[in-house]
């Protein structure tokens, strides 16, 4: 893995998340009580021995900067290798172009200079604890130019419409790649991660710019698929493909399942994130907590069921929190009720206020929004 460079690049799906992504990119969404989505990508790479990680931040860069500092939480604050941030280019040729190709092109010097010969591309909105060492071995052994990682996904209800779908021939070589429309009960979901020879990457990007036929790297790959050896690496573990509010909510609530939590939090190494120096969580005489994941720094005096509670949340006496995701430092005052909801950071639910959504469409309270009884 020494010769492999990690590249995190996210698209712009912010519109699918309403109020939650007004100020943050999707990969910065809080997840699992104390993490951001991107922590899973970065930690999995670090735990698998990738030493240099590049992040294309997208435009909403402030929350990213605050969170990843100089890479310290992942031990990426190195003199040699480590974390490299590429904010979007705002001048010159690439400034008013869509897609990731112009962004990659604007940083071409970097790729041409570094010693790594392989690129691991990763989409941080998809959480999967892939054993990257094993996948990398497969990539090397098959001498592929590109190896895409996919999961055979059972989807009887069409929940995965709009996700990337690939098909492979009997030798595991790529045949097609497109968008899943739910026409099959099971399909190979491309989890938007994969290895690519650096020379192939550079050539794809440059040719796309010269021909002007692709804005996105994946488009360029599929247009040129006959020129490269492209195969698939099968992953059978748990995948959270976070693409809208509902899948974001479900991904959080899924962590209440023991096997999901074990796999995502522990398998192949723990997840690192910016630490907050919160004390332990205090449960008082009146607290009643069932089936919930609770981070540090909380004071819980009320009832909590089937919920994910982030760091520093306070839940007052007689309050009820059920099937909800309560982000950092939110306050739920005495006798309030919060059901099937997502509270963004520092939201305040006043005394006696009752809010409820449905598990199909959770009620979202914006960051710092205050709801009080009048």
């Amino acid at each position: 893995m020494e010769k492999c460079l990690g590249v995190i690049s996210a698209g712009n799906l912010e519109n699918n998340f309403g109020a939650l992504c007004i100020h943050r990119p999707v990969y910065m969404l809080p997840y699992g009580g104390r993490y951001r989505l991107m922590d899973f990508s970065v930690s999995n790479m670090v735990n698998n021995g990738i030493k240099t990680i590049v992040v294309y931040t997208g435009e909403k860069i402030r929350s990213t900067m605050d969170h990843i500092e100089n890479g310290r939480p992942w031990d990426l604050d190195r003199r040699f290798k480590g974390l490299i941030l590429f904010p979007p280019v705002t001048h010159g040729y690439t400034s008013n172009k869509y897609g990731d190709i112009p962004q990659f092109y604007s940083t071409m010097d970097f790729y041409e200079t570094v010693r790594e010969d392989t690129i691991f591309l990763n989409h941080p909105n998809i959480i999967a604890k892939v054993d990257l060492k094993a996948a990398f071995k497969y990539f090397k052994e098959t001498d592929a130019d590109i190896t895409f990682i996919y999961k055979p996904q059972n989807d009887p209800w069409g929940e995965y419409v709009n996700c990337e779908k690939i098909s492979l021939d009997e030798d595991n070589n790529l045949e097609t790649m497109g968008m899943n429309l739910g026409t099959e009960k099971e399909f190979n979901m491309f989890i938007r991660s994969g290895f690519m020879k650096k020379e192939a990457f550079i050539r794809l990007v440059k040719e796309a710019i010269e021909k002007g036929d692709s804005d996105y790297l994946l488009d360029a790959v599929i247009r040129n698929k006959d020129k490269y050896k492209i195969n698939g690496y099968r992953f059978d573990g748990h995948v959270e493909n976070i693409r809208n509010l509902k899948s974001f909510y479900d991904a959080n609530i899924n962590l209440l399942k023991k096997d999901v939590a074990r796999e995502l939090f522990y398998q192949g190494g723990t997840i690192f994130t910016k630490t907050k120096d919160e004390p332990s969580t205090l449960y008082t005489e009146s607290s009643k907590v069932q089936n919930s994941l609770i981070a540090n720094g909380c004071v819980i005096e009320g009832t909590v069921e089937n919920s994910i509670i982030f760091r520093g949340v306070t839940i007052g006496k007689g309050a009820l929190v059920k099937n909800s995701v309560i982000m950092q430092k939110a306050e739920i005052h005495d006798n309030a009720a919060v059901v099937n909801s997502i509270l963004d950071k520092q939201a305040v639910i006043g005394e006696g206020v009752r809010i409820a959504g449905s598990t199909l469409m959770p009620y979202v309270v914006e960051k710092k929004q205050v709801i009080r009884k009048d």
Binding site: F265, T270, T273, S280, E285, L293, I294, N296
Partner: protein, 378 residues
């Protein structure tokens, strides 16, 4: 703190032998406390929050865990380019190797280090105590009086006064007498082992003390009484917050239990005076269906399926179904198996309690310290 440079010297060599198994492998300052901290975190965080930029940690007794806990001081923001934190163990020189023979000797041996920092004041701290204090208040008081040394003192219960170094003062809080563990104390003002010195004054007395072969090289016993006898300006500064020196297994257990009182004065949730520690970066705690958890502090990585009342769980503790934990302190990485019942106990790191085992009983007046080898009843 910019114009008057302060260097803090933190004494972290304490053995704490009365804490028994707790300090078998580690020094007292490294003993875990309050669900996620180690005792030394309090003094270190106080120093960091007080804006002290240079701190030397004097280690001696079993320092390995302490060294790895402190590292380069990043948890307290002491990983600085200029100044910051230095771990100062005993060393050898042309005169041979010497252990630190007492609190004053430990500082004496590091005169060169302090001289290099060139401070105006030196603050002596102990890594054995649990408290929150703004050392700037002590410094301001020290400057106001133009004192040679200012000693932080606090009122202790009269019946405990004979366990402490008692300080007798005049009406201006000028120190007139020291009494080391007096049988009949005249006063209940105890020294907290926190001293603010003028460096040039302290420097002279450290050398003087070292030249006296009779001396135990201890601040409380030797250096401070000598300074008083020679007419230095010495003042007592009265502190009235939470302060605890956990000397015994029982007081260790009690100090942990203090945190469960919502009105406790050592408020760990105070955002303006955080206590920092090295983080293990573990996932959140999971509280299962069927569990019952009340009046307790629980840390990251715990998995609670049983009943937990009036207890403190450190990180990565598993409480299985049907297990009962009451009035207890469970250190990191323990597993309390199905049906086990734990009362009034301190369970040391990494101990597994077998299924249906019982330790203590409800309303027991004893405290039990459980290690992987034995159970000590106190």
């Amino acid at each position: 703190m910019i114009e008057n440079k302060v260097v803090a010297m933190l004494l972290a060599g304490g053995q704490g032998s009365r804490l028994k198994e707790l300090t078998k492998k580690i020094a007292k300052p490294a003993v875990p406390f309050g669900g996620k901290y180690r005792i030394i975190d309090f003094a270190l965080s106080n120093a960091a929050n007080s804006g002290i930029e240079d701190i030397g940690i004097l280690t001696q007794y079993k320092p390995f865990l302490l060294n790895s806990h402190i590292g380069i001081g990043s948890a307290w923001d002491y990983d600085r380019n200029v100044g910051g934190l230095r771990i100062l163990p005993p060393f050898t020189s042309e005169d041979g190797g010497r252990w630190y023979t007492g609190t004053a000797n430990a500082v004496f041996e590091n005169i060169d280090y302090i001289d290099e920092q060139d401070p105006e004041y030196v603050l002596i701290l102990s890594g054995d105590h649990i408290y929150k204090m703004d050392y700037n208040e002590l410094l301001d008081y020290h400057k106001e009086n133009d004192a040679d040394v200012s000693i932080a003192v606090m009122e202790v219960p009269w019946d405990e006064a004979s366990r402490f170094g008692i300080i007798n003062v005049d009406k201006n809080n000028k120190i007139i007498e020291f009494e080391e563990k007096p049988e009949n104390p005249k006063n209940n003002m105890a020294s907290m082992g926190i001293y603010m010195f003028k460096w040039e004054v302290l420097r002279n007395y450290l050398i003087k003390d070292d030249e006296n072969p009779e001396s135990d090289n201890d601040f409380g016993k030797n250096v401070l009484p000598m300074m008083l006898a020679e007419g230095n300006k010495m003042f007592a500064w009265v502190f009235d917050g939470y302060w605890k020196d956990v000397g015994t297994v029982r007081s260790y257990w009690e100090a942990n239990m203090d945190l469960l009182d919502p009105n406790n004065t050592l408020n760990l949730y105070d955002k303006d005076w955080r206590i920092y520690t090295k983080s293990r970066n573990l996932p959140p705690q999971y509280i299962a269906r069927g569990s019952d958890i009340k009046d307790s502090l629980v840390n990251e990585g715990c998995y609670v399926m049983g009943e937990v009342k009036r207890s403190i769980l450190f990180s990565d503790v598993i409480i299985e179904e049907g297990a009962i934990v009451k009035d207890s302190v469970i250190l990191s990485n323990c597993v309390i198996k199905k049906g086990a019942r734990i009362y009034n106990s301190v369970i040391l790191e990494g101990v597994n309690i077998e299924e249906n085992a019982t330790i203590g009983s409800e309303g027991d007046s004893h405290i039990y310290m459980v290690s992987d080898k034995n159970i000590i009843k106190e």
